[in-house]
């Protein structure tokens, strides 16, 4: 999560859901929290009961809006205009928390003379290389900071590898103006950058009336300060945009200006969409990072020398200075005694990033016939992935496909009953893909961990054995690895040295040989190599090969044999200490040093959390201090100091080399140091701010004949489309459409449209409608509701259409998949697609079937005929 990572230092929610009860106002935007996180939403309800004001901003009035004090519809894709205007409101009216801003953010840091803002260059920051279609970010550095060689800047990388904050420059070197008057200081740059984000622009770009804007701004500002705090909750309604990271960045700026980070009731809560999505970036299923957010080495750019890799990625100051310890300990966990100092601890056994290996990147490769095989686990891309029609067709290019799931998903049966078969685009008898469907154990049928939205790791114990041949993922991966290693042993090959070197010695237990997951968790926790004694935390890790650790941020989760903290269920306080384990070090609110003044005393009695105990000379409080426990507030580092010692006693953002929260991000983002309003890749409007720059310049459309786009605007596709989820179903439906008690609650695909649009198109509530985009056509039942409101923007009416995306061609309840309509596009930093702001058309009646269906598709998308 580079949005949070580059701003604060760690790519995770800064607070916990339970802490929302301490908020005085909660802004929920880019999320329908009540709909998709109903259990966590209890804390929002509790906060409201205690007097907090709940603000919900969403194109649709949904379950969350129903509980809000203020709801306003917004034009999908205009989020940065609204948050930018809130930032402007704070700056213009001097509502910022000045002491916090001065000491804890980089507001006072001076930028270089050659830095140019979008306001100077008509929508581009300085450094844009039009030939390469990417930024060269030298000019974004702090004035006086030496630059570094940044491997991730060279193209193929994803941004996850990049949010350590010190990749491009020595960010601990800077010049400051504490009066904030210097025109080159971040504060003044920020002011100029957002000067045109006025309430008038909010009205014309977002469709939010000025008085509603003022109400929102005043509610947030008056709920912030020494005695008050406001929180922001977001989910994929912000992420899944062509500029999603920058939307999150805008919230980070607002919360830093209001002094709401690191304090009870404050923070930014990144709501994750699945049980362990946070866990799947911590111990990643991503291609560009290793466990604990260590960068995956790049082919060519990263040398084959571990020493150079560490020098490249290790900042001099800040916590990431420990990168060498975490890297070597990870290699020791991977390769055990085979990892020696002589062979650089097996550094060159690690695979290298050679291109875009993200989901969308490799799926395009698959469509082009460049891939042979695929494992699909815990996923149903035939329904859940963008341009699912393209994705399903791409599956037919594989030689083999392994699907592990609890049911036969659409992905497993694309060759039999997909819409492509029905339309004759694919023929079953011509598909050569061999499909292996393995039954998977459900979560109650296996033990293991979830790391939830607030970095909280909870261990769960198996309740019953899985039925018949169903097995856990751990079982599958362990035995697959074991068999591969045995095979390699029998037929040695230089290609397999990394596989041969890998430690793979978990105990397999019981009749089916289930690996002991607590052993895995112990390896993740880390141990000293000599005596295999568990370490108590990452501070014990060493760079000399004497310790091993599978994921440094989780270290401390299993400090002693028999003491699995993730298994604890005895909450002691309002932050839930004693229940599970929150990384890092069981801190529930990150950067909590900021909950005290620079001198270490709480900002107020009401909002005290962590403070300096002058008598005992240590940090204490209700949470585990996110700070070196004995570092006094008046500590000032020597020039020669390194790592955490190089940070002063009043610098709460300890991961960053300068120890400050970043209003301006000098390193780590591919599309600008500040958020800027660009239109979605498909928009009914031109970018009124920068007519020459319609879209985020670094976003990728991956446009091709089977992934086409509408124009902006486009008469063929006049309406704005957002996809979303419902409480009753889980994502692509594999876990809910097959259960009658859930399937009956939302049995059919529907399309939410306003009564006005329904009247214009002569659509009656409940009848079938056909929805089309430049990629595909689907049908749905018309849910005509006043919860969807047309927006009036500068005299123009904008109609928005809402589509849940849960249905497919299998299960108890079937329906068309909204993802057939979505394009495969890539946000520049995390390569996520844009699902929340598209252009579509709607007509009454059902879609055509068979050959006529193909003809209809070809007419709309300009392709689709069988080659």
């Amino acid at each position: 999560m580079p949005g949070l990572g580059t701003s604060f230092g760690r790519g995770g929610a800064t607070t916990s859901q339970q802490d929302l009860i301490n908020s005085d106002a909660i802004l929920i935007m880019g999320s329908s929290m009540a709909e998709n996180h109903p259990v966590g939403f209890q804390w929002v309800v509790e906060a409201r009961e205690r007097g907090a004001k709940i603000i919900h901003i969403d194109p649709r009035f949904n379950r969350t809006s129903a509980m809000a004090d203020i709801w306003t519809p917004i034009r999908a894709g205009s989020d940065i205009v609204l948050i930018g205007a809130l930032i402007r409101y704070v700056l213009e009216n001097e509502r910022d928390f000045r002491e916090y801003v001065l000491h804890y953010t980089n507001a006072s840091i001076l930028l270089r003379d050659d830095f140019k803002d979008t306001e100077d260059l008509d929508g581009l920051f300085s450094g844009w290389n039009a030939e390469k279609n990417q930024y060269e970010t030298d000019s974004w550095a702090y004035r006086g900071a030496r630059l570094k060689h940044d491997v991730a800047e060279r193209g193929k990388s994803g941004g996850h590898a990049h949010d350590r904050g010190g990749e491009k420059l020595h960010a601990n070197e800077y010049e400051q103006d504490l009066t904030l008057q210097n025109p080159h200081c971040v504060y003044q740059v920020l002011k100029r950058h957002f000067a045109r984000y006025t309430p008038e622009m909010v009205e014309s770009a977002c469709g939010i009336p000025k008085d509603v804007f003022h109400k929102i701004a005043e509610t947030l500002c008056s709920a912030s300060g020494p005695d008050k705090t406001a929180a922001v909750c977001y989910a994929v309604g912000w992420t899944q945009h062509s500029k999603g990271v920058q939307i999150i960045r805008s919230a980070a700026i607002l919360q830093l200006l209001l002094g709401n980070i690191g304090r009870p009731g404050g923070g930014i809560l990144a709501l994750r969409g699945h049980a362990s999505i946070q866990g799947s970036t911590d111990i990643p299923t991503l291609y560009d990072i290793l466990p604990g957010y260590l960068p995956m080495p790049y082919f060519e750019e990263d040398s084959d020398s571990l020493k150079e890799y560490i020098e490249t990625h290790q900042p001099k100051a800040g916590w990431w200075h420990n990168l060498d310890k975490y890297t070597v300990s990870l290699l020791k966990a991977y390769y055990g005694e085979n990892a020696t100092e002589e062979n650089q601890f097996g550094f060159n056994w690690l695979p290298r990033v050679t291109g875009d290996h993200s989901h969308l990147g490799y799926w395009i490769d698959m469509a082009d016939g460049k891939m042979e095989g695929l494992f699909v686990m815990g996923q149903n891309p035939a329904v859940g992935a963008p341009n699912s029609r393209l994705e399903r067709k791409a599956l037919s290019n594989l030689k083999w496909l392994v699907v592990r799931d609890m049911v036969e998903t659409e992905t497993a049966s694309f060759w039999l009953d997909s819409p492509e078969i029905e339309r004759g685009e694919l023929r079953t008898e011509e598909i050569e893909t061999e499909v292996f469907l393995f039954p998977a154990a459900g979560h109650v049928e296996k033990s293991g961990c979830f790391t939830n939205t607030q970095r909280l790791n909870q261990f769960h114990v198996k309740a019953i054995d899985p039925p018949e041949d169903a097995r856990s993922e751990t079982w599958f991966m362990y035995h697959l690895g074991r068999r591969l290693k045995e095979k390699s042993k029998a037929h040695p090959s230089p290609d397999n040295v990394a596989l041969d070197a890998l430690t793979w010695d978990y105990s397999a237990e019981g009749a089916i040989g289930e690996p002991n997951v607590e052993e895995v968790l112990q390896e993740i926790n880390g141990y000293t190599v000599a005596d295999r004694k568990l370490v108590s935390g990452y501070k014990e890790l060493k760079a000399d090969g004497s310790t091993a650790c599978g994921c440094w941020i989780y270290s401390g989760i299993f400090p002693k044999p028999g003491e699995n903290l993730a298994r604890k269920r005895e909450p002691k306080d309002f932050l839930g200490h004693g229940w599970g384990f929150a990384w890092p070090s069981d801190r529930r609110i990150l950067y909590n040093r900021a909950s005290a003044r620079p001198n270490g005393t709480p900002w107020s009695e009401r909002k005290k959390l962590v403070w300096w105990d002058a008598e005992r000379k240590e940090w204490t409080g209700y949470d585990v201090p996110d700070f070196t426990r004995t570092k006094a507030p008046d500590y000032r580092p020597k020039k020669t100091a390194k790592g955490d010692d190089a940070l002063a006693g009043d610098k709460p953002f300890i991961m960053h080399p300068e120890g400050m929260g970043r209003l301006f991000v000098p390193s780590g983002l591919k599309d600008g140091p500040l958020p800027t309003q660009y239109e979605p890749l498909e928009s009914p409007l031109r970018n009124e701010l920068y007519p020459a720059r319609q879209n985020d310049p670094a976003a990728k459309k991956l446009e091709r004949s089977d992934n086409t786009y509408a124009n902006s605007p486009d008469k063929r596709f006049p309406y704005v489309l957002s996809t979303y989820r419902l409480t009753e179903h889980h994502t692509a439906g594999g876990m809910t459409r097959y259960l009658s008690h859930l399937a009956e609650l939302q049995p059919e695909m529907f399309c939410e449209i306003s009564p006005q649009l329904a009247a214009d198109l002569e659509i009656t509530h409940g009848e079938w409608v056909t929805i089309s985009t430049a990629r595909g056509i689907i049908e749905a039942r018309a849910q005509v509701t006043a919860r969807i409101k047309p927006l009036r923007l500068d005299g123009q009416t904008i109609h928005q259409v809402g589509l849940p995306y849960h249905w497919g061609y299998k299960g108890l309840v079937k329906g068309d998949s909204a993802n057939d309509l979505v394009a495969i596009s890539q946000e520049p930093n995390v390569r996520i697609m844009e699902t929340k702001a598209l252009l579509c058309n709607v007509r009454p009646g059902r879609r055509e079937r068979g050959e006529q269906g193909l003809a209809e598709l070809a007419e709309i998308t300009g392709e689709g005929r069988r080659a």
Binding site: A34, P38, Q42, H56, R63, A66, S740
Partner: protein, 260 residues
């Protein structure tokens, strides 16, 4: 004897339907079938033999000045309905087989293995709660989770509710909580809240009361529920009078024929 009750508070309900699903899972209730109904987000329709908790969604226009719930823009009310477990229960009084009984918790329990499917309970329920399963021929309704209560557990719906919109407990303290809640809501600007607890009506009080915004009848809660047996006396008197009149007429007819 402990008598218990539900307090269901629409001002806390987020319409997640966890109560419906938890009820069906615990009690192994059959499904409702897969029919998209188009009534807002509600596709299970109403309380019946296969739905013992039912969340109703009420979409309404802007109601400015009513406090909370985005009143300037729109309101979307949600309420989880359930069997009221009446003090004077029409179903129980009408049941000819003794399938319906009063439990020690004050609830009305339908023993489906004793039910003969006469459906008298269906027509005598003032709230439209009881329904006969056409396939099985017998009636079904909320058990008040009698089995769970016997074990000291809360009913499944109350346990599953994430926002404590469904509260469960001893009836009198719960009634006190309901009144206190009503007072607080009014102080917070919810001028239109009501406590639905028809003690004055002929059902003589219920074991499931509700806090609603606006008119409770919008949520299928009748303003004056009546247990049909209140008409028994009147019915018997009318029948008696009719019988007397007919007898008298008959006698008169005979008396007249004598004269002839």
């Amino acid at each position: 004897m402990s008598t218990t009750a539900f307090l269901t508070d629409s001002t806390l309900c987020i319409g997640c339907k966890a109560c419906e699903v938890a009820c069906k899972e615990w009690n192994q209730v059959e499904g409702d079938g897969f029919e998209w109904k188009g009534f807002s987000y509600d596709n299970t329709g109403a309380l019946g033999h296969s739905t013992w908790r039912h969340v109703k969604f009420v979409e309404a226009g802007a109601l400015p000045g009513r406090g909370g719930n985005s009143p300037d823009a729109f309101t979307w009310g949600m309420l989880s309905d359930v069997c009221k477990h009446c003090e004077n229960a029409g179903c129980l009084e009408a049941c000819p087989t003794g399938a319906l009984v009063r439990t020690e918790f004050g609830g009305v329990y339908l023993q489906d293995d004793i039910c003969n499917g006469c459906a008298y309970c269906v027509v005598t329920c003032p709230f439209g709660v009881v329904e006969r399963n056409p396939d099985k021929g017998r009636a079904f309704k909320c058990t008040f989770c009698y089995d769970r209560q016997k074990e000291g557990l809360q009913p499944a719906c109350a346990t599953a509710c994430p926002t404590e919109s469904i509260k469960f407990g001893e009836i009198e303290p719960l009634r006190e909580r309901a009144r206190a809640r009503l007072k607080k809501l009014r102080e917070d600007g919810f001028g239109d809240v009501h406590l639905y607890d028809p003690t004055e009506s002929s059902v003589g009080g219920v074991h499931a009361f509700f806090i609603t915004r606006g008119d409770p009848s919008a949520y299928n809660l009748p303003p004056e529920p009546e247990v049909p047996t209140v008409y028994l006396r009147k019915g018997w008197i009318s029948a008696g009078i009719a019988a007397a009149v007919m007898l008298a007429g008959t006698l008169l007819a005979f008396a007249g024929s004598d004269k002839r």
